[in-house]
Structures are given as structure tokens and as C-alpha cells.
Symmetry: C2
């Protein structure tokens, strides 16, 4: 039986330094992370940004895997020097590790950290059946909450979407450029659970939970802004670090410098995620809103996942 | 009686965004921060870096106030285009707000935030009597711990040293580029305590504590490194966020990826500060070591402080 081939990307954002360090240490100590028989290809997503300690050079690599963007950059009318470096990097990663590449992988795991109090969590993009099966196995094993990101025209071109199956692991809170024992441990645990899931599913011995609990993306909220466009409030003390905790209409959301409160005015029960993520300020996102849903496990998911793994 | 003239610098490091935001809000709401009668000049230390969201452009502004560096840059043989932008900014700040400047201030407060768990704290550079008097009044009022930085040949050229009297306020933990309610509140409280101290001292109504408790800088520790020079350990879970907590020989200090512990081997009772500050990685500082000392209040300090305030 062939091994599942898993691409593990760390440092897709160059200032998220825990996962890259974990992979570096792993190279020197092969028993640091149990692969459960998977053939793993570790790679630094954005090595130039990682060397500089910044999130990216020209544009966010994890928004650069847009088919239109990649096609345009690959056309002959665009000499490489005029292509954003992250778009070129996306093309290079796909051509080596994507379908038909010399090191083709059927599954990709994209490792991130966040300044938000997300804990150890999974991000699934869209509803591809194989992704949902993989997420269900990891959730069944570790209980991680899942943020299902979909249908947001402002946020497109995520790395994992360019592989047949994959998900992101998001761990926080941790400042950018800070190595932290808890983040390292949580990243390793989630990664091992992914490897075990792939291995078990390929061997037909995977034990799926009865349902998948997802937090489905509905949209994002920006900070209140003054007429000049600059933020004139901050996350309310009761909302700061309260990721995954449902809100009710009227709950405190933001606070102004004078102490006045800006309440949450959305529907009851929605669940905020990525509260006060440093890098999302430039995207005008103070938090994202999700709807918690329990989806019964589907045979279609598990079949798709096993088929994908069997395909190599 | 003239008012104490206080220069308040925020954003000396462009990615420390809480203090700049506080000053921006203050401009719109003059009663947000009580000045206690001081004439306050608020300024963004490094506006270009602040606009870009990075610590600095060419070099750390808060290491650029070295007399030799400033002299060299100011000489005719150095055209401005060849001078580091932060050195030029240091010259500009001194020429406007320093002695003899059009907006000369006798006291400077430099506002910083840190990823370390420093809480609300003061940093004093050297043992200038007026600085010690000001620090004593703020410590007496708010109980803030004081890091006394001195005699470190590797770390020179701090902003406050270019004014006759001044100190830095360091608040954490907070990630770079994240606005946080607690950091905003603590910064405001420390700032108001400084203004009150200046006002009271000038009016001769200051009530000093009997002693000043300082944590005197002894040196810094780097992370353990592999032969290739890259860090091969991280802060031990027991040491992470344990700023201001004394250590004993043999206490866990760092941890390696395989879980093994690197113990602290220094003298008993030394107190670590700036543990795991993101920006100090480039300076090869994992933490600094200090010696806690109680100094009886000195008449020389209070006289120097009052004389400085009276001089305008």
C-alpha cells in the first residue's frame, strides 16, 4: 500500500515563527513528530519573508492562490520581474508539490499562528468532502474547533485550495515573532493527528465521529472608524480573547477611548473568531462572525478522502 | 509659576501602536488624560515606521541617540541622504524639543509596549538624580516596578538620555500591532502619574516615598544556539511570562524541542525582565537579568528634579 503523501507548509506568513522552528528541529530529530507512516514533505511557505521576519514581501501569500492571478502571472505577457513575489512563490509551490509535480502531494497542511485566542483550531476552506472527512477525524481525536471559511468575496486565494485536500492549523494567542512552548506543542499535536488520520483512512481503519461541528463563516466586522477613516475604538474588554464564545444582541463589542461601549447588534448566538488578529487590521477585520453547526458525518466525505489518499 | 514642560513620545517603535492611538484620541478629547497643569508636547517618535507598521526603517530609533552617532551624522561630510533615517529623526527631535529648541522640554516620557509580561513598568536609564526622583514619585503613587538600565556597552543611545530628565514607560504583554484595552489603560495611568509628579514637585508639594526599589540591569542572556547559530531552545514554560519573579540556580530556564531542560546557572535571587520580547531576538536577548535593590530616597534627587522643573 502506498503512503499518504502530505505537504506540510510552515511560515506561509513569515512572522509566524513557531511552525518553522518546529519543522527545523524535526529535521534534526526525526522522532520529534510521529508521521504514522505518512510520507511528509515539509517546506517553508515564504522563505524570503521568514528570513526578514515580516508577514510577506509584496502581498499575502495565503491570498495569492487565486486561479485568475496565477494564470495571469503565468502568461507570457508578464515577465517574472513584474509578478508579485508571493504569486511567483505560489506558482513554484504548485508546480513542485501540486498535481503532476515532481513531489506531488495529495494532502496539504498549512501551519499558522495568530494573536487571537483561537486555541488549537482548524480552518477548512469550502466544503470539499475530503477536507471535511480529514477535519472530522482530527476533531474526533483532539476535539479542536473548526472555522469553516467560505463564500467571502473579499478573502480568496488560500493555499490549501490549490491541493485536492487540505486544511490550515491555526494556533494562538501568540505575538508575531515570538516562540512559545504552548504554540509549539499544540502545533505538533494537531500535525500528528492529521498524519494519523491520513494513515488510518488509507488503511480503512479510521474511526470517524458521528458528526462534524463547524463554525461557518458569515462575514467580518471592522472597528468603528472616525470620519477620517482611522479606528476610534478597540475591542471591548469582555470581547478581547473571547474567541469561540457566542454573543447576544446588546453584548459589549467595542469600547471608545472615553469608556463608552459599542454593543454588538447582530443575531443572537453567532460565534466570533479571529478577534483582534494583528495582521487583519490591514484587511479591516476586527473579528469574523460564524454560525455553529453540527453536520452528520457523510459517507461521501469518507469515500472521497480515502479515494484521494489512494490516488497518491 | 511656569508649568513643567513635558515631551511625550509615542511610537518610538512603529509597531507599538497603543500609545500613539491614545495620544491621537487625546487630541480629540482633551480631558482623556489629566495633565495636572503640565504643558505637554505629544509627538510620534518614528512616524514613518508607524505608518508602515514596523519597528524601524534603518535602525532602532531608541538606540540612535548616541552622541558620537549624532555628531557624526551632523558633520558636513555626511550628506543627509547617507544618514540612517532614525539618526536624522533623533537629530530633528533634539533640535526641536531638546535644550535650546523652539519647543524645549525639560522632561521626556517615552511610551513603549512589549510582548513580555512586564505589566505596567518604568525604565530608568542610568542614575541621574532627577530621573530617580521622578521614578520614586510614580512608584510611590502606582507601585510600578522599575528596571534600571545602565552600563551595557551593547545597548546604548536611548531617547530619554538626550533630555535632562526622563524615563520610559513599558507596558505588556501585548503583541506588536495589537491594540489592547489593558495596555491603553495602564499607559494612561502611568502618564497621568508622571504629570502629577512633575506638577507636585515643581509646586513643592510632592510626597516622596522613603525608598526607591529598582531592578538594576546586570546583563542579558541569549537563547542556547546550535553550532550553526540558530536558536535550539525556547523559554521554559515556567519562565515564560514570569518577568519580575526571582530565580534560583537550577531553576528551569530554557527547554529544547526534545523536552529536555536547560537550567539557570546564575546567582540566586536575580530577577529576569523582558522575557521573550519579540524585538529583542535580533539583539540576541532572550531575557535580561537584574538585581533588586532598595535605595533610600536622596535629598540630592528631589533637589535636582525640582531644579530641573524650575529651569523650564
Amino acid at each position: 500500500m502506498p503512503s499518504p503523501r502530505v505537504l506540510v507548509v510552515a511560515g506561509t506568513h513569515g512572522n509566524e515563527i513557531n511552525a518553522p522552528w518546529l519543522l527545523e528541529q524535526w529535521q534534526q530529530q526525526p522522532d520529534l513528530i510521529q508521521t504514522h507512516g505518512c510520507e511528509v514533505h515539509p517546506v517553508i511557505g515564504n522563505p524570503e519573508a521568514y528570513a526578514k521576519g515580516c508577514r510577506y514581501l509584496d502581498r499575502d501569500l495565503n491570498r495569492s492562490f487565486q486561479p485568475g492571478l496565477l494564470r495571469q502571472a503565468g502568461s507570457e505577457r508578464n515577465p517574472p520581474s513584474q509578478v508579485d513575489r508571493e504569486v511567483q512563490r505560489a506558482i513554484d509551490l504548485i508546480s513542485r508539490y501540486g498535481i503532476g509535480g515532481i513531489d506531488a502531494c495529495g494532502v496539504v497542511i498549512d501551519l499558522h499562528s495568530t494573536t487571537s485566542s483561537m486555541g488549537n483550531s482548524l480552518v477548512v476552506h469550502g466544503r470539499r468532502p475530503a477536507d471535511l472527512a480529514l477535519a472530522a477525524l482530527v476533531q474526533g481525536r483532539l476535539g479542536l474547533p473548526i472555522y469553516l471559511h467560505e463564500a467571502d468575496p473579499d478573502q480568496q486565494g488560500f493555499l490549501v485550495e490549490s491541493w485536492p485536500c487540505g486544511l490550515a492549523i491555526e494556533v494562538g494567542p501568540v505575538p508575531q515573532m515570538v516562540r512559545h512552548h504552548k504554540i509549539l506543542t499544540q502545533t505538533r499535536l494537531a500535525l500528528e493527528a492529521v498524519f494519523e488520520a491520513c494513515s488510518d483512512a488509507l488503511a480503512g481503519r479510521a474511526r470517524y465521529p458521528n458528526q462534524l461541528v463547524v463554525h461557518r463563516h458569515l462575514g467580518s466586522l471592522d472597528l468603528p472608524r472616525s470620519p477620517s477613516g482611522s479606528p476610534d475604538a478597540f475591542l471591548h474588554p469582555q470581547r478581547q480573547a473571547a474567541d469561540w464564545q457566542p454573543m447576544r444582541g446588546g453584548d459589549p463589542l467595542f469600547q471608545k477611548a472615553d469608556g463608552s461601549c459599542v454593543p454588538y447588534e447582530g443575531a443572537d448566538g453567532l460565534v466570533p473568531v479571529f478577534i483582534n488578529e494583528a495582521a487583519y487590521a490591514e484587511k479591516a477585520i476586527a473579528l469574523s462572525l460564524t454560525h455553529r453547526e453540527c453536520w452528520p458525518l457523510s459517507y461521501e466525505w469518507t469515500e472521497a478522502f480515502q479515494a484521494q489518499l489512494s490516488a497518491g
